[in-house]
Symmetry: C2
Subunit: 237 residues, 2 copies
């Protein structure tokens, strides 16, 4: 694999929040940390989704989940190349984020195929929300990497029909899965807070854009609201 | 996932073997069978490589193997779209090839990381050889699909350095892995013969190109020779 290939500069990203003055400089140390965090997240998601694919009741479900897992490795490769372009050796850089992400997955191991589907969907959506939020405070060429990863999400749409059908025919499933999805958001928020507590440069990054993330509390508030939208889509609200 | 999206027609493929007269018609029933066989092969490879990634001694090895697995899903998606464009529902079509491919993997489960590396490399190379051979007898638009998959291979290069280093420092490893690679080729050949014995339309397809595969025995002979080349690259010949 060619890790030394530079990432092409992002195409012009319009900045609705008020010009490039709200963006952090491209040499902000938090940027490589952010990429490393996201990169480990993609690798962890790859292995978890592949495990969970084995819970599928049929080959079609197994393949859908495998396709989603494979997409995560594509995201990883974008981030790996972006880190290489910043002169960062990817494996040591990402290893320090392993505990938080492995804890999240260990604490949210699905016990049924429906739980696995909801987790895949919620995880994908939370990642997309986070990528979208963070892109707004990043300098253009860095935001380009994040947006490229984001544009690659959406492989989890196959989940919606299957979960909706299950919860429409069973109120008990609906309650169980609604509780499950709240637990997913809760554990993700907890682990995100641990990560921020241990990485000052990441906190600085997410706080540095006045038109962007603003306060961390607002950020988690917005994640909560978009999570609620997703729950409605799944028939779990 | 959008399975109904038609595959764009292949760009002009030059036919060194003597013009399009040596090619089978694009409605040959063996073509969908071939795509189905290859598609299941990609899915099976995805799951096996992901399993074997867990045998890696470190995160770097695990990620390399995961990247290879993810590439197999990309190949699967090309073949799935090609089948959809031919009006074939992919899951039932590929299911009939599951036994042969699962048998191959069951009979060649690696017991060490080095065996896993050699299997990944040999499997990738055998698939590439096969794709290259078969493309020559297919009509242009079909050959385009096969060549697109082929152009996506080559993720297994990371294996060569690691295996060469291991076999150079241990004659015992070298003998073990040489035996292992012969077993891989043997089991692949056996399963390929079972598949051909049960699918007349595939035999017809591989025999139909006078400038292409020619006789099945010749085909297996060529696979053997390119396998020997690969063993030399790995330091196992």
């Amino acid at each position: 694999m060619n890790v030394s290939q530079p990432v092409p500069a992002a195409e012009g990203v319009t900045d609705a929040a008020g010009g490039s003055s709200s963006r952090v400089p491209s040499d902000h140390p938090g940027i490589s940390e952010l990429f490393a965090l996201l990169a480990y997240g993609e690798v962890a998601a790859f292995f978890r989704l592949t495990d969970e694919a084995r819970m599928a009741p049929d080959l079609r479900g197994r393949i859908n989940m495998a396709g989603m897992a494979a997409a995560e490795m594509g995201h990883y490769e974008l981030l790996r190349d972006a880190l290489a372009a910043r002169g960062v050796d990817v494996v040591p850089a990402i290893t320090r984020y392993a505990p938080a992400l492995e804890n999240y997955h260990r604490l949210t191991t699905p016990s049924t195929w429906l739980e696995a589907l909801v987790k895949a969907y919620v995880g994908d959506a939370m990642a997309a929300d986070f990528y979208l939020e963070i892109a707004d405070v990043l300098p253009d060429e860095v935001a380009g990497v994040v947006r490229a990863v984001l544009s690659e999400t959406g492989h989890s749409q196959f989940v919606v029909a299957e979960v909706r059908q299950a919860v429409m025919s069973s109120g008990r499933q609906r309650s169980r899965l609604a509780l499950w999805s709240r637990r997913l958001l809760g554990e993700a928020t907890t682990q995100a807070q641990y990560v921020l507590a241990e990485h000052d440069e990441l906190v600085e990054l997410v706080l540095s854009g006045p038109g962007g993330l603003g306060q961390v509390a607002d950020f988690f508030g917005r994640l909560q609201r978009t999570h609620d939208d997703r729950m409605r889509q799944l028939g779990l609200a």
